[in-house]
Each structure stands twice: as C-alpha cells, then as structure tokens.
Amino acid sequence: ANLVLYTSQPNEDAQATVDGFMAANPDVKVDWVRDGTPKIIAKLQAEIEAGNPVADVLLIADTVTLERLKEAGKLLAYKSPEAASYDASLYDADGYYYSTKLITTGIVYNTSATFKPTSWKDLTKAEAKGLVTMPSPLTSGAALIHAQTLVGVDGLGWDFYKDLAANGATAAGGNGAVLKSVASGEKAFGMIVDYMPIREKAKGAPVEFVFPIEGVSAVTEPVGILASSKNADAAKKFVDYVLSEKGQEGFLKLGYIPARNGMKLPEGFPARDSIKVLPINAAQALKTTDQDLKTFSGIYGSN
C-alpha cells in the first residue's frame, strides 16, 4: 500500500513536500490528505475510534496536538539520525515527533495604518482602538499556541488580552480571515502567521509584517508516525527526509523558516538572530488547553 500522509500544510506546499520525498525515494508512493488541523484531527480520531486509522504519517500544525496523541499512545517512537542537527527543544526526547519548521505569529498592518507597530503592546494603544483583529484560538491551532505563549511572557499575560479586548480587538475565524480584513483595510492591525502577509506583500497587497520586539510565538509543524502504521519503514524514511537538509531546503523554498540548524532564511525575512522565538512547553500547554480556551472566550465573550 502507499504511504498515507495527513497534513495541514497548504495544498501546494504539501504537494511540493511529497514530490520532493518521492524524488528522493522513488520506490515509495505517497497519498496525502490535507485539511485544517481540527478537521484532520477529527478525521483521524474517528478513524482510530472505528479501529482502522488510514494515516501513516502526520505532518500537522503544532506539538501540543502531537503531544496529546503521544499521551494517548497513538504514536510510534522513532529516533531519527537527523535529530542531531536540531535544537533539543524542537523534538520529543523519546522520538515521538520532530518539529520541521517554524511558523511564527507576529503583527500584520495595513500600509495605510497611522503608525507602524513594533511591540505587542502597541496594539493596545488608543490609535489602534477598534482596528485590531486576531484569529480565534477556537478555530486556529496556531492562534491557541500563540495565546498560550504570550500568556507565559512577563508583562503580557492574560492582562494583555484583556487590554486588547478593551481596545475593541476582535477574534475572528482563522489566519486567512485576519489577512483579508487587514488587506482590505477593514482593520489596520492583526496577529497573523508570518508567511501569509509576506507572500501577499510580494504579490502587491498593501500589508507589512513585523516581528515584535518581545518575540514571536511559533508553531513548528511537527512530523510523527502513527503507532498503527503498516508502512512503518517508509514512514521512517519520510521523517528522515523532511528532517534532512534536502527536505528542509524544500520548506525554505516555500517561504518557511526551516527548523534545522544552520539553514538560511527565506526571502523577505529579517536575519534569523533578530527573530526572537518565545518558548512553549508542549506538555504543560496541553494540560491547560481547556482552561485557556475558557479564559479566552471569557474575555472575548464580553465584548
């Protein structure tokens, strides 16, 4: 049977990844399914529940989700030889999952905005009143991680979110929706994942992306093998491939920050050391997820 990959990467990216892998491993054929993280997880869980998970490899948004699967015993431990070139915080010590790239969440602003924000706190300024939007953690995995990350930063915390809410910020849909409302000028500022505005700017959209000085949160699009996989060998090859230099270059070409040490940064990004990635503890975040979601909707339920 073919190797089945479930991924939340956008279509073209998924296709590129798979193409790269198949070029390197002509004997393995890959079928892939892509969808938003919640949907792909719902699909996977339903399959597991029905006793016949179809997927072999997952390449999806965030470590928290894979941490959950790991704890449920659904993942296969595999120690990839490529792990050596990665920061220890970017993969699971037991080899259940490995981060493949860094998708950071920063600030997007419309070029016609009255000022250029440089810090998260700028969004709570009076000039930004009613002009801020962000993806809702309830629909976007990255947004949840982002909130959980920012909440852990000294000087931000839930108070920051409360100030934002008081400043008329809205939490709408996913990252796409944020991009649309900022690009169309309906809102002036938004929290958003890096690659979207950078790509759109290249196409001519009136948007600009900034990495705030406090640092950015990041989701890392980890890869993991399902314990039930019938193609474990091919799956391991896939993991090795995406972690390999070649695989990482693929991500680079697509416009992402590779997770592997010593790689270049894509076009349009500032130097790697000017980007401060805020840390997050996946296991910890997993435990507080429910509470965090409640807190969040508690804040944004009152506006």
Partner: protein, 564 residues
C-alpha cells in the same frame, strides 16, 4: 390468497418496510454509531460537566434564536418571491426566478464576507454614498441579527423552491370563487391562498430551520468575532481541541441539535394536522393575480433583493478572482485573468473536482428523487406514530453540522464492511452515501407537501385502469408532483454541488469535490484562485440551468422552477 392487500391501503406491502430499511441505513446506523462512541467516551463520567457548561446553553440559546429569526427572514423573502413570481402578472418573471435560485451556489462564507465588506468601513458602496462608517467602528453584522439575516438570505431560495410547487397546484376556481365572494386580492391571499399553500410554506420553513441549526459557515464568520457561538461552531471548537471526551461532547451537542430539529418537526406536524389540502377535482389551471400599480413598487424591490443576494456577492467573488492579492484595488492595471488561466489549464485538481462534484450532485439528486417519491408516498398515507418517528429520523442528519455527519460515516465505514470485506472509506461512494443521508430531508420536504395536495381520485383512476404501483407512479403520480420533484432535484443538486464539510472529511486523493478544492485554495492563501474557481462554478451552474431551459419543453410542466 395471493394478490390481496390490507384493506384501505394503496401501497404495496413491501413499501413501508423498504422505507424503514432505507432510513435505518441512512440515518439510524450512523447516528447510533456516534451515540455508541459518545456513550463509551462519557462512560467515565463527564456528562454532568458537559451539561453544566454555561457555554453549551448559551450556544443552544443562540442556535435557537438565530435559527428562528433566520427562518422567519427566509420565509419572508422566499414567500414573497414565490407568491409574486408564481401567482401574479409581474414582468420578467423568468429572469427573476432564474436569478433567485442562484445565490444557493455562492458559498455562504463568500456571501457573508461580501456583506461584511459591503457594510463595513471599506465598503465601496457605502463610500460612494458617503455613509461609510469610520475605520474601526464595530461591524453591525457581527451579531445575532447579522447571523439571522444571512441565514435568511442564504435559505430564501430553499423556501422559494419548496413553496412554488404547492402554489402551482392551487386551483384557479377556488381563487375565483373567493374573489366573487367579494374578497379583494389581499383578502383572497390571506383566506384562501395562504392556508392552501400552508404545506409548502411549512415545508420551506422546516428546511430553512433545519439548515440554520446545522449551518457552520455563517456563524463561524459572523458569530465568533462577537463571541456568539452556536451549537455547530461549538462542536467545531470541541474538535479543534481533541480530548478523550470529545466524541462524548459532540454526541451530546448533536443530541441537542437533533432535539431542536425534532421539536421543529413536531411543530410542523401540529400545524398541518387535521387539515385537508387535497385539491378536489381538476387542477391544471393556475390562479393569477393582477398587481396593477403595485407592480411599480414590487418589481424594483425584487431586483434590489436580487442585487444584495446575488449580484453583490458575485461581484465580490469576481473582483477577488481578478486581482492578484487581497487589498489590491481593482483597476484596469491590476486586473488579470491569470487566476482563471491557472484554474482552468494548470490545476489538474479542477477537472477532477468538477467531475466529482457534478457526478456526486447528480447522483445524489437522482437517487434521492427515487427514494423520496417512495418515502413521501408511504409517509403521507400513514399517519401513525411510526410514520412520525421515521420522518423525524430522516430530518436529523440534515440538521447536524456536516462535520458531525462526516465523523458518523467515518465511524461506520472506516473499517471494511462485515461479510462483504470491502472498504468504502476513501472511495467516492462513502461521500455519496453521506450525501444521501444528509440531503434526504431536503429532497423529501417539497415532495411530501405536493402529496398532501394531490386529489386521491387521480391515482384511483389510474389503478382502475389497471396500472400497478410502479406504473402509476411513473405515469400519473410523478408527473402530477413534477414541480415538487423538480424543486427537490434542483435543491439537492445545488446544495450538493457546493457542499464542503462532509466531503472535506471524507475525501481522499482523487475524490476531492469543488467545495473542498475551493476551501483548500482559499485556506492556502490562494484566494484569487479560490474566487476564480467559485466564479467558474457559478457560471457552470448558470450554464446547466440554461441547458435545462432548452430541455424544459420535454419535461413535465413546472419541473423547471424558473419557467411559468
């Protein structure tokens, strides 16, 4: 004693059991599977926690309120169009009814976004009128009212199609008798037409209500920014933070939705009970009203409606397809058709998606037509409790959000079928079955209401001519309910063409549908490609409607809803 039947029964003995089996497969099996999983996952407690969560009751409240308001709005718009276009001498009827069906083809998210932009600070329309609110002022559509309004707009064509068939069966002489009694047009409308078309109105209201309870796209865009969660959006958030209890929570939420839908159905039953709508004697001549000078008021009003429901969102789509990126103003310089070029000639996925969606939609519509006619026949001749249970079971799948139905079907079909040892999961067939299950209710409603109006003598005459069950079904009954059958086919086809969530979860390589393709393009930031594909889908539907127009002469009268 071969050949004898139970007295007083015009249906063959196998018919009702057959309907029950269909309902068992399409509704009971997947729902029961979810219920089972839910019970297992809640076995270690947690029901209390789910039920005591205030968010749940908040969502239930919002679901009810938006669904009721949305239904009322869609009834108002849909009935107005149906009455004006079917019963009056308003001009350009054909064009109006042709256009009125189209908004169903524009994805609700697109309509919602188009409206948000139209009514927001960057609205070109409001800017031109110099009444655009300042940048950053709150968006009025992010509210219960906004959600209801969009529900109404989105579902008005459903009401229109369900009602139109019933209006066409209105006997002319009944209207004439009322006018001669001295009743003016409005009075005739209130006393005769409205009550006689009640089965159609109620069918429309029921479809609309059930659609509202299951809708995800509109509350996701308009509700979440204002923290208005409906049960479908709440279910979605449960899936996004998956825990061992999720299936249990989802099952509980689904039961709530199902209960709301069943309550709606019960109200519908009550409203129709004990009444007689059979049109006695000959139907065939339809009623007609002259509008007189009202025409000059109503005609532009209808066009304004069409503008907001169809033209504006469509141009939003078109504009989105013609600019390279969001926020780039549309000028002759920035405009490019490269997105269309890319979609039509580069993306292999487009062709498969078109083929898949069209064949799925056509297959669903036609299979359902067959099943629906049989089911409606059996159900309208059966007034007992069992009959009512069966009709509510048919209703529930459509009332649940697509993601729930998709999960149900994965649960049932992910493992190979017992005995047969084939796996449907991953093939296009599972999508077909899920569509059949989900859209059964949509297809059934108009047909049932048409059966309510049928003069039984017409079937009796056919029986005495010697026509057996299938024969009279084909020769007499189906042609007599043709307008309803046509409405049913078109409704299902359009809804299925556009469907997203079910196929998104059930699709795999090679079986993606248009809805999935558009969603994926949009999700991956290629909104220009997504818009271009949407525009193409709308154009394709227009093209197919025109084809039907050509065929219309050979079809029974009234099948094609934009012809009079």
């Amino acid at each position: 004693m071969r050949g004898y039947v139970r007295p007083g029964n015009s249906q063959p003995a196998w018919l009702f059991p057959f309907v029950v089996i269909i309902v068992l497969i399409l509704s009971v099996l997947p729902l029961a599977r979810l219920a089972m999983t839910g019970i297992v996952s809640l076995a270690h407690g947690g029901v209390g926690a789910v039920l005591s969560d205030p968010a749940l009751w908040q969502a239930t409240y919002y679901t009810l309120v938006t669904a009721i308001l949305g239904t009322l709005i869609s009834l108002a718009i849909g009935c107005a169009f149906a009455f004006l276009l079917t019963l009056t001498d308003i001009s350009s009827k054909g064009a109006l009814s042709f256009l009125f069906v189209l908004p169903m083809m524009i994805p609700p998210q697109v309509t919602a976004l188009a409206w948000v932009q139209m009514s927001g600070p960057s609205s070109p329309l409001l800017k031109a009128l110099h009444i655009a609110p300042p940048l950053g002022s709150p968006q009025p559509l992010y509210s219960v009212g906004g959600i209801s309004l969009l529900y109404g707009v989105q579902h008005a064509p459903l009401v229109y199609l369900a009602l139109r068939a019933g209006l066409m069966a209105l006997p002319r002489d009944g209207v004439e008798a009322a006018r001669l009694s001295g009743a003016g047009s409005l009075r005739v409308f209130r006393d005769i037409i409205l009550p006689l078309s009640l089965p159609g109105i109620i069918a429309g209201a029921a479809i609309s209500f059930v659609s509202c309870t299951g809708n995800f796209g509109i509350p996701a865009i308009l509700g979440i920014p204002a923290s208005i969660y409906t049960l479908p959006t709440l279910i979605f958030t449960k899936f996004s933070a998956f825990t061992s209890r999720t299936f249990g929570d989802v099952a509980v939420l689904s039961v709530l939705i199902a209960m709301i839908a069943a309550a709606g159905l019960a109200i519908q039953e009550r409203a129709l009970r004990g009444r007689d709508y059979r049109v006695l004697g000959l139907s065939g001549a339809t009623a007609a009203f002259e509008l007189g000078h009202w025409k000059f008021l109503l005609q532009p009003l209808l066009w304004v409606c069409i503008f907001f429901m169809l033209v504006a969102p469509f141009f939003a789509l078109l504009a989105g397809a013609l600019v390279p990126a969001y926020g780039v103003p549309l000028t002759f310089k920035t405009m490019s058709v490269s997105a269309f070029y890319e979609i039509l000639f580069r993306q292999a996925v487009t062709r498969t998606a078109f083929v898949n969606s069209l064949s799925l939609a056509a297959g669903t519509a036609l299979c359902l037509l067959l099943v629906t006619v049989l089911t409606a026949y059996a159900l309208t001749r059966r007034k007992d409790l069992l009959g009512r249970i069966v009709s509510s079971l048919i209703e529930i799948p459509y009332s649940l959000p697509g993601i729930v139905m998709a999960v149900c079907f994965i649960l049932v079909f992910a493992a190979p079928l017992p005995i047969l040892h084939v796996t449907l999961y991953g093939t296009i067939w599972i999508i077909l079955i899920a569509y059949l299950s989900s859209f059964f209710a949509v297809s059934l409603k108009p047909v049932v209401s048409a059966f309510h109006q049928l003069d039984p003598a017409l079937e009796e005459a056919a029986r005495l001519s010697g026509a057996g069950f299938f024969r009279r079904l084909a020769d007499i009954i189906v042609p007599l309910i043709a307008p309803a059958a046509g409405a049913s086919v078109i409704l299902v086809f359009l809804i299925a063409c556009n469907e997203l969530t079910i196929s998104a979860l059930l699709w795999s390589a090679g079986t993606q549908t248009l809805g999935v393709a558009i969603y994926n393009l949009d999700d991956s930031g290629s909104s220009d490609l997504a818009s271009a594909l949407s525009v193409l889908v709308v154009l394709m539907v227009v093209f197919m409607m025109l084809l039907m127009e050509l065929m219309a002469k050979r079809l029974p009268r009234g099948v094609v809803p934009w012809r009079n």
